[in-house]
Symmetry: C3
Amino acid sequence: MRHLLSISELERADIERIVEQAARFAEVSDREIKKVPALRGRMVLNLFYEASTRTRSSFELAAKRLSADVVNFASGGSSVEKGESLKDTVLTLGAHKPDAIVIRTPWVGAAALVAGWTGAAIVNAGDGKHEHPTQALLDVYTLRQKLGALDGASIWIVGDVAHSRVARSNILAFSRMGANVTVAGPPTLIPREIGALGCEVRFSLDEIAQADVVYALRMQHERMSEAWVPSLREYAAAFQINRRRVSARQLVMHPGPVNRGVELSGEVVDSPRTLITAQVQAGVVVRMAVLYELLSGARTFSPVPEPQLA
Amino acid sequence: MRHLLSISELERADIERIVEQAARFAEVSDREIKKVPALRGRMVLNLFYEASTRTRSSFELAAKRLSADVVNFASGGSSVEKGESLKDTVLTLGAHKPDAIVIRTPWVGAAALVAGWTGAAIVNAGDGKHEHPTQALLDVYTLRQKLGALDGASIWIVGDVAHSRVARSNILAFSRMGANVTVAGPPTLIPREIGALGCEVRFSLDEIAQADVVYALRMQHERMSEAWVPSLREYAAAFQINRRRVSARQLVMHPGPVNRGVELSGEVVDSPRTLITAQVQAGVVVRMAVLYELLSGARTFSPVPEPQLA
Amino acid sequence: MRHLLSISELERADIERIVEQAARFAEVSDREIKKVPALRGRMVLNLFYEASTRTRSSFELAAKRLSADVVNFASGGSSVEKGESLKDTVLTLGAHKPDAIVIRTPWVGAAALVAGWTGAAIVNAGDGKHEHPTQALLDVYTLRQKLGALDGASIWIVGDVAHSRVARSNILAFSRMGANVTVAGPPTLIPREIGALGCEVRFSLDEIAQADVVYALRMQHERMSEAWVPSLREYAAAFQINRRRVSARQLVMHPGPVNRGVELSGEVVDSPRTLITAQVQAGVVVRMAVLYELLSGARTFSPVPEPQLA
């Protein structure tokens, strides 16, 4: 692996290797000294053209726990504001010879383009509505910790599938790991061709009892003004995940940040069967595994470095 | 101590222990290598919902001088902008298992709430009009360096006491250290119940000659538009600290940033009897002491670590 | 050297010493571990009152590759927004005893003022239209790598000389290194007194064939609304550097970020004779050399530290 651009490029074996490496890194997060010197002296650039707490901080922590140096760029306060093109910005930053660039943009395919412009390993942290592969990997990791394996599990992804890069990456990743994936939401928010990714489609939650895992997507407020759904209230009436719809047997996931009372009821958010916090924790160790896979180079991949101090 | 939420929770012995530890750290700031490895591998999150140069940078430097890793979050550019609740933001960030969260918000009591939501040590860096305990500790430290002890000293706190978390924390801290505290300002800016904290109240500076220390508060420009005082000019005419009002014998303090020509005359700002720079220097070493107290854990507290390189 | 405020203060020998030191640091950037422990435990403050990707990131990387700690301040989100004066901000930050302050402001002469207010080494990263000395040093470095020496070379600086701190610093630096400097642009954008810096003046590109190096300046869009030139289209018609105007023999430089299709044609930007990427790479090593020169103190200057891990 030179880059991590999309789940569609990964084999099941790749996904398994990454989540198994993540499991080895998980113990580092529980130590008093939460660092290993695995990537000491390496440079990771975070290049974010969209606001983000979770993803940027998760990559930053992952890099720091591997003892890499991190430089953050946000589009605010940079030459992006001066109208510089993405290409020229990347060529400039690439001239600093970063070992990896973690990039989030609103443009489909931008991460793949960037991969052709520098010698750095590129990690796609979200490219418009296209993919968000580390989210899918951390979700696979989280479910494997709970279920052992995903083979044969029924996973329902509920909500605004049309505008969701998380949905796209997760349909691919869950399917590749052997799960049966169903997407459900109002017809305006389910793209016609989505079945081609290997999932079933439902326009109601009538049969959600068959799901082992319910994965709720964030309902963007912008969608309302764009008239994709009549109102948040009507959306919630039909598709909110709450205690009337899911039982204590079913696991609930969400990529965050949650709109309490919209896609999830507050009661479900706070339930112990809801894996949101486990997903966030998984984010750091999975991103450590991804950076380690991409940057550890000639060194053999499998063994965890000895816990020397950084 | 698990957290530092307010001065009201501290005994005199706690304050003394922290400022004495700060004095031991002061020598580190004068070394060529301004670091000790005391908190190597620990993670400090700065979570700031209000703009700040002084306080955020002071905590960041304090953490770095102890060799801790620091991750900064500001409400701009984060999921806070997407309407996520404080609780969900903290639960997300808490999932990364930071060792400490330094938090500033405009909401009274927010730091104490946050302390119940994560396993991290919480340091209140300002919660609305309530408290700003590290400011009070650094002010005690600064005065002890000058005066030896605060017992019996007369300290006047002048200005907008009503909207000031600095005033609240400092009245408590100075009183606990044995000083006699007086607050002075226009009646609209002195809360009726303030005497309950253990201070005297004056509505003019007529008797300010009796003060050993004059502590001027920042006059927020917003207060004018809110009609708490008729104009900055009238405020300054009655309450500005200038050479007509204070003598060269009296020490002057201010938490910064100063409005020159409003609460302090330019001449007083630049006077050697004014301790503003000493207060800023004290900020780093006192915050080192606070982080060390909260995070050094089982290790005995008193000895300064050997000056090994980080 | 205590500070780096302007090229006008440097002798040719100073420039040569810095670029030679930069060349020694260049090999560090090609190592797997891109760090040396030269400035371990030193603190560098980046204080930026203007937006910047290139310059801030370049200084940040330079400091980190020398193992210094970096704290970034931008005017957004700081007490600058609360109306604090530059002097009071610097006194506050100076109280933290940073070893160096890298400062960019829109005000001519601000860096020199700041040098009088703290004990830190000051690096001018741009003070209004006045100077940007590290840009000139990295441009000298880049040309020496290509040409061996600048003595006798003909260098044309083309565009908005009037508003350009890059032009001012580069005229001085290139001249001091023995080059013959010509500035060219529309009469409204060439200051009357510029010849006093030791350059020739042209108001057209008719004789640009005589140049060995063509250095295009960024055309700020603001200049249009201010009516300095009638339109970008007319500016480009007369002064754009494109394949009709420069031959494959001539080197092209630009300080970035580029307005493609305005001061440079896209074809020229992407040409291998264009040194923009080399300039960006030079930025990090030259800034390492500058920080090392200013902060390595009593230690002898010339030898590169052994490549021990930081």
